[in-house]
């Protein structure tokens, strides 16, 4: 059996503005994760260009991509991916120790409302709390881009709202450019723009006149 070329993405042309809040919607296999991975410097497109400021991510070396992720990108994952052997505070400190001009780890935990749990290990926290620690870890370096892959995918609705509130507040207070991937169309209401993806292409780009606060979102 020969290799078959699969085009996860085709003909994407997108510009994301500084400080913008963007939600990517689409079914499984629509290419939204691949797009986020390319923007996050985890993957390179086979052809084309991706610019973060002056840096072409499509042509960057592994080293450049590592530095880009370290300095400029904050990641939030569906399954939190905290380091189980580190406490909440230490999970945040792990990142702040290796970047220039980070927040204090306590400050980042304060922003997600978990300073009182700073000495807890991940196994001692609920799912929502773990995800908020993950957000604190992502923002503590003061990233320019915050990328969230199904941040509420593993959470119940009430907890999901708290997590979304946290992301929303970060975006507003710090002006961090934020992109969220989700299956959940309702979440689109809190974004500046909604990107609908299908079969590796942008099916539609929708502008919201106003952003709805997360607590008003129902699903």
């Amino acid at each position: 059996m020969g290799e078959v070329a699969v085009h996860a993405l085709r003909g994407i042309d997108l510009e994301v503005r500084h400080g913008e809040f963007l939600v990517l919607l689409g079914p499984s296999g629509s290419g939204k994760s691949t797009l986020l991975n390319i923007i996050g410097g985890l993957d390179r497109p086979t052809t084309g260009q991706v610019f973060f400021k002056q840096l072409d991510l499509a042509a960057a070396s592994d080293r450049q991509l590592t530095l880009y992720r370290r300095r400029s990108v904050g990641f939030v994952f569906q399954f939190y991916n905290l380091i189980p052997s580190l406490t909440a505070l230490e999970n945040v400190a792990l990142v702040t120790e290796v970047v220039d001009d980070p927040m204090r780890p306590e400050e980042a935990l304060e922003m997600v409302g978990l300073l009182d749990r700073k000495d807890h290990f991940p196994a001692q926290l609920s799912g929502g709390q773990q995800q908020r620690v993950a957000i604190a870890r992502a923002i503590a370096k003061r990233p320019e881009v915050l990328l969230c892959d199904e941040p509420t995918g593993a959470l119940d609705a009430a907890t999901g709202v708290t997590v979304l509130q946290t992301i929303d507040r970060i975006n507003r207070q710090l002006g961090t450019t934020t992109m969220i991937i989700t299956h959940n169309a309702a979440i689109g209401a809190m974004a500046d723009r909604i990107l609908h993806m299908r079969d590796g292409q942008i099916a539609a780009l929708e502008n919201n006149a106003s952003r709805k606060p997360p607590e008003e979102i129902q699903w």
Binding site: D43, R69, G74, N81, I83, P84, S85, L86
Partner: protein
């Protein structure tokens, strides 16, 4: 398709997918089984061959030397209860001049009945023919001496026989069970070039030493189960007035006791090493199978839900362990048997056994298979039990997330000492304390194996240096025949190159304390003692007071006597009665079991004028050639020993063996260390893949990420090295306690280089394993790992 065949496919595919780990474990098993099969086969071979040799050539059970007794005594000796055979001989030690050898050598002449081997202590004629009684100059020589000096049949050797210079012609070459180890009397090291055994017809030897109708050496064979001690006492009593130096049994016969010591040492190797290897293998099987059951919870649950029985599932996981072990056991058995054949041949040549017959020891192969199967079952047990106990519904739920706690050092308030990555490592190690402990013990075992391997050469080196450089500083030892006066010292001083001479008196004695008795010699030493010093354990000279005895530490220990107490001394030169002497000191010695006294005190005790047994010479090596020429032709010199030549020969023999042994030790240690470290790292990589990939995603470089994983190996290895040193040291201590023969005690000395070398091998194994795991870490797809729910 049956249930079994599907599970078999799963088994085969999983084995293939984890072939690196499986191979590493199989190698550990193979090493253990190989050592076991090899050493037990060799042990059996040596015992069988020794016993056959002793039996076929009627090696005696009891020996005694005396001054001279009439052969008419023979019936009385034969009448001792338990004696089945008596053989009397004339035995004499003489100085010889070997063609091509600059130094004088020594030979032991043994009388044989005309034209045939003796009844007891028979020899095996390797080549040539029996000496013709009609020719007084024909001799057989021992093969080791013959080969070491590259002699030919028909060659002549000059000997000083009872003061007369005589040529002896070699007509045959022989082997004897009495001289498997050929060591000259009074010497501690074998030297085949400078000491040989020669057999010649009795009538000529009797004539040369004025021993017609008499003997000075007797050997007995006993009925099985006879009372040894009783026979020795009866024989002593019978021969005492003929100057008997004390009868002794086979266990005190020099050659036999050296051979027994060697066999004893092998026995330790046959037990300890395989236990270490199989223990490590069982631990590794436990670790990988437990991990596999953990990750396959859902599969196990599904299988149970489909109706697979507990026993089927248990057999499935057990089979993994059994297959890995079986492969190791088969390879180990083949390798061990092959090594055993080669080694048996080497041993056979080294000991010059007349017949070579080696069969692989089927019992040891069966035992090895059983023991390794037990290790497999033992190792897999916990994992199999976990699989069996798992309820289908419970297995469908995700396992409880990994719980971590602050590590001990942090609880103690020392966290500021440890940066975050190190804290992660410590907490990870502490989460599975038993696994971490066993990993440490496994690596430590490798370090200990190396340390023990290096210990013997280190100890022998120290022993040789202490005994033959620091304590005994002479170059040449001369023994007079018969005893000489002090004038002999002046004669020796006038020989070319001789710088300094010290005479000594030596007399055979029985020393008794309570019911403990030991046959040895009292050495009478002069005041000066520049060439033969008595030392304490710190290599400092100790005092030899004008009265009383100084005992070697081993003798003092054997007699349970310490300074200030008294012993009873019986002088074995035919005189009646005993003397009570105080013990005034204990000297450190690693070879021999002597007693020492002031030479004047000894003369007084023996009621003699200053008679000397021999002398030690310090020599200018530039004049060696002339000196040796003189010594070869000096009639009064009974034998000459050149210490340096003997030492060098001995060191060369050891050096050869040591290199081979060390190569094996390094190989075995590396197999253990890599087996343990690689498996520990792979399991850790498995468990932490997600965590490590998260680190990569949030901006840590490859090396920073690797460091978190490999740091764990580094910490384990760093803890394991000193533990291994301690374990190795304790094993060496046990070996020293277990091995203490009359000839040698092993000092507990390990050279700092040996510690460094063992640490270096463990560190190298860690680095190699780390490198393999690092490569694997690089191949993991960043994005894929994050998608999977733990």
């Amino acid at each position: 398709m049956t249930q079994g065949s599907v599970l078999t496919r799963k088994l085969v595919r999983e084995l293939w997918a984890t072939k690196g780990q499986a191979l590493a474990i199989a190698a550990v098993v193979a090493a253990g089984v190989a050592v076991f099969v090899m050493s037990t086969s060799i042990l059996q071979f040596l015992r069988d061959t020794r016993d056959t040799y002793y039996d076929r050539y009627r090696f005696a059970h009891v020996f005694a030397q005396l001054r001279r007794a009439p052969r008419t005594l023979e019936p009385q000796i034969a009448a001792i209860d338990g004696v089945t055979m008596v053989d009397t001989r004339v035995v004499a030690d003489v100085t010889i001049d070997v063609p091509g050898l600059e130094e004088p050598a020594a030979a032991r002449l043994i009388s044989i009945p005309s034209g045939r081997p003796p009844r007891l202590n028979a020899y095996h004629l390797r080549r040539g023919r029996q000496p013709d009684p009609a020719h007084g100059d024909e001799v057989l020589v021992s093969e080791a001496f013959y080969e070491a000096n590259r002699l030919q049949l028909g060659d002549s050797i000059a000997a000083i026989i009872n003061g007369r210079y005589q040529r002896l012609r070699i007509v045959g070459v022989a082997l004897s069970p009495e001289y498997v180890f050929q060591i000259r009397p009074g010497a501690l090291l074998p030297d085949d070039r400078r000491f040989g055994v020669m057999w010649m017809p009795r009538q000529h030897l009797e004539a040369a030493f004025n021993m017609e109708g008499a003997f000075n050496d007797v050997a007995l064979r006993l009925q099985p189960g006879s009372n040894y001690e009783e026979v020795l006492d009866r024989l002593d009593l019978l021969l005492k007035r003929y100057g008997c130096t004390g009868a002794y049994g086979r266990e005190d016969q020099i050659s036999a006791s050296f051979l027994d010591d060697e066999i004893q040492q092998l026995r330790g190797m046959a037990i300890i090493a395989p236990m270490i290897f199989l223990g490590v293998a069982a631990f590794l099987l436990n670790v990988i199978l437990s991990r596999r059951v953990q990750t396959q919870r859902e599969i196990i649950a599904a299988l149970k839900a489909f109706g697979f029985g507990n026993s089927t599932i248990a057999m499935h996981y057990l089979a993994t362990a059994v297959w890995i072990t079986a492969v190791g056991a088969v390879v180990g058995t083949l390798a061990g048997s092959r090594l055993a054949v080669g080694l048996a041949q080497l041993y056979s040549e080294f000991y010059r056994f007349p017949h070579f017959e080696f069969h692989p020891d089927l019992r040891s192969i069966a035992a090895a298979s059983l023991v390794s199967l037990a290790a497999a079952v033992g190792g897999a047990g916990r994992a199999v039990w976990q699989a069996v106990r798992l309820m289908p519904a419970e297995a469908m739920r995700p396992p409880t997330p990994a719980r971590y706690h602050r590590s001990v050092v942090e609880v103690l308030g020392l966290s500021w000492l440890f940066p975050l990555p190190l804290r992660m490592i410590l907490r990870h190690l502490q989460r599975r304390p038993l696994n971490s402990l066993f990993s440490v013990l496994g690596i430590a075992a490798a370090v200990a194996v190396l340390l023990m391997g290096n210990f013997s050469p280190d100890a022998i080196h120290y022993l040789l240096n202490f005994q033959f450089e620091v304590a005994q500083r002479h170059d040449v030892q001369v023994v007079f025949e018969p005893l000489a006066s002090h004038a002999a010292i002046h004669e020796l001083k006038s020989l070319p190159g001789v710088q300094y001479v010290e005479g000594f008196r030596s007399v055979p004695v029985h020393i008794r304390r309570g019911h403990r008795k030991h046959r040895t010699a009292i050495m009478g030493l002069g005041r000066e003692r520049r060439l033969y010093r008595l030392l304490n354990a710190h290599e400092r000279p100790i005092r030899l007071p004008p009265e009383g005895l100084v005992l070697s530490d081993a003798l003092a220990k054997r007699l349970r006597v310490s300074a200030g107490e008294r012993v009873e001394v019986e002088i074995l030169d035919g005189r009646p009665g005993t003397y009570i002497l105080p013990v005034v000191g204990v000297a450190q010695e690693y070879a021999g079991m002597n007693a020492y006294a002031d030479i004047d005190a000894l003369h007084r005790l023996l009621q003699e004028d200053a008679a000397l047994t021999g002398a030690w010479l310090q020599v200018d090596s530039l004049a060696n050639r002339q000196l040796y020429q003189h010594l070869k032709h000096t009639p009064r010199v009974g034998s000459v020993a050149i210490k340096k030549a003997t030492m060098e020969q001995f060191k060369a023999t050891i050096a050869e063996n040591v290199l081979t042994m060390q190569a094996f030790n390094v190989l075995f240690a590396a197999i253990i260390a890599i087996g343990v470290i690689y498996n520990t790292a792979r399991i850790s990589l498995d468990e932490r893949a997600r965590e490590l990939m998260t680190l990569r995603v949030i901006g840590f470089s490859r090396w920073e990420t690797s460091a978190m994983l490999l740091g764990e190996l580094a910490v384990l290895t760093c803890i394991a090295i000193p533990v291994g040193w301690a374990v190795g040291y304790s094993f060496c201590y046990a070996m020293v306690q277990g091995f203490a023969s009359e000839q040698f005690r092993i000092p507990l000395v390990i050279h700092p280089d040996s510690y460094l070398q063992s640490a270096a091998v463990a560190a190298t194994a860690a680095i190699v394993s780390g490198w393999i795991v690092h490569r694997r870490l690089e191949q993991i797809d960043l994005v894929e790992v994050l998608k999977i729910r733990e």
